[in-house]
């Protein structure tokens, strides 16, 4: 492989890395949801926390993105909302990710 070809490959890797970061950022922005007037991120950590707490209690408290406590009185509805948004964003990310493979 020539130096020119190596540079081309390196440039492509860099471009994909930037595009991946932008796509991830887009997903993370979209993962922010409002529930009971509080903001939450529909990420794996929040989903696992809510799922775990809901298995032990019907009503519980969680911290929002600004560390303010929020009482969750409807765990099933909240968990459903979190999972739906999480999967919506990851589905969109997955479609973009497919285009990286073809580059």
């Amino acid at each position: 492989m020539t130096v020119g070809e190596l540079k081309q490959k390196a440039d492509l890797s860099y471009d994909i890395s930037v595009a991946k970061n932008n796509a991830l950022e887009r997903s993370e922005s979209r993962q922010i949801i409002a529930h009971n007037e509080h903001l939450f991120k529909a990420d794996a950590q929040t989903i696992c926390l809510v799922k775990t707490l809901s298995e032990h209690k019907d009503i519980f408290f969680v911290l929002d993105t600004n560390n303010n406590p929020c009482e969750i009185k409807d765990p099933a509805e909240f968990l459903n909302k979190l999972i739906e948004r999480n999967q919506e964003t990851l589905n969109a990310y997955s479609q973009i990710h497919e285009t990286f493979k073809r580059r």
Binding site: N22, R30, E37
Partner: protein
């Protein structure tokens, strides 16, 4: 409870901001579907094409502020509390293009004043590390979501006070940016009003295309831009555009 978007738009000798605002309004109507109020001056107002149901508030813009040697307005933002007719306001730069409805999420919460403290450089170069330019973390006044509460009013009143004594506050906070900049004015106001302690912020980052990225096309779903001799595209993602040349064509 009313919710709406407040935009400030005033043309300068260098840029036709009304053309940027027209595009911004289209996207707000399409994706946020909220009422819009544009605060502008009479000269700029006459240049707007018909945009449908928009509220206009005419003011005489304050002049004198410059950036990179060019006239730079945006001195009226401190009066947004008084200018906004809404209970909940999304105050945004007219060069912030909403390609999603993400901002609507922030209108349904109990916080009365939210501002971004993080930025995402879409070119991947991390061009916005200003941490060493001040002794407090910089906030980004590109998008501010506020409600008509006493606390929100105190913050805007503090911005007005800082604006009057800007050079003093720049020295106090060791800010190296000499001309008035809303980002720093709001950073200092938030710091003052909250007793020099940590604030609550908008989660996420402002996706931003820095000035070095040349915008090639503004599409209905995203932006095509050139940077480092490469063509890139972002789609279905809100974006803050720093380069304005395309709107002067």
């Amino acid at each position: 409870m009313s919710t709406g978007v407040l935009l400030y738009c005033s043309n300068t000798p260098t840029y036709d901001y009304h053309r940027i605002a027209e595009r911004c309004v289209e996207l707000i109507k399409k994706n946020l579907k909220l009422e819009i109020t544009i605060v502008t001056d009479a000269k700029t107002f006459k240049k707007f094409k018909p945009l449908g149901m928009i509220n206009y508030k005419l003011i005489e813009p304050e002049l004198g502020n410059k950036r990179n040697g060019e006239q730079w307005n945006q001195l009226e933002r401190a009066y947004a509390y008084e200018h906004s007719p809404y209970d909940t306001t999304i105050l945004m730069d007219c060069d912030y293009f909403c390609y999603t409805d993400n901002l609507l999420t922030y209108t349904n919460i109990d916080n009365d004043f939210l501002i971004h403290d993080k930025i995402h450089d879409l070119t991947g170069k991390g061009a916005y590390d200003f941490r060493k330019d001040s002794i407090i973390p910089m906030l980004w006044a590109t998008v501010i979501v506020f409600k008509k509460t006493d606390r929100a009013k105190r913050i805007f009143d503090m911005v007005k006070y800082i604006k009057q004594h800007y050079q003093y506050f720049c020295k106090l906070y060791r800010i190296s940016f000499p001309n008035f900049r809303n980002d720093y004015a709001f950073s200092m106001a938030m710091n003052q009003v909250n007793g020099n302690t940590q604030q609550t912020f908008l989660p996420g980052k402002i996706p931003t295309l820095p000035a070095l990225a040349k915008i090639l096309e503004v599409k209905d779903t995203g932006i095509v831009f050139e940077y480092d001799n490469k063509i890139n595209e972002i789609e279905n993602q809100d974006v803050h555009l720093i380069s304005k040349e395309i709107f002067n064509v």
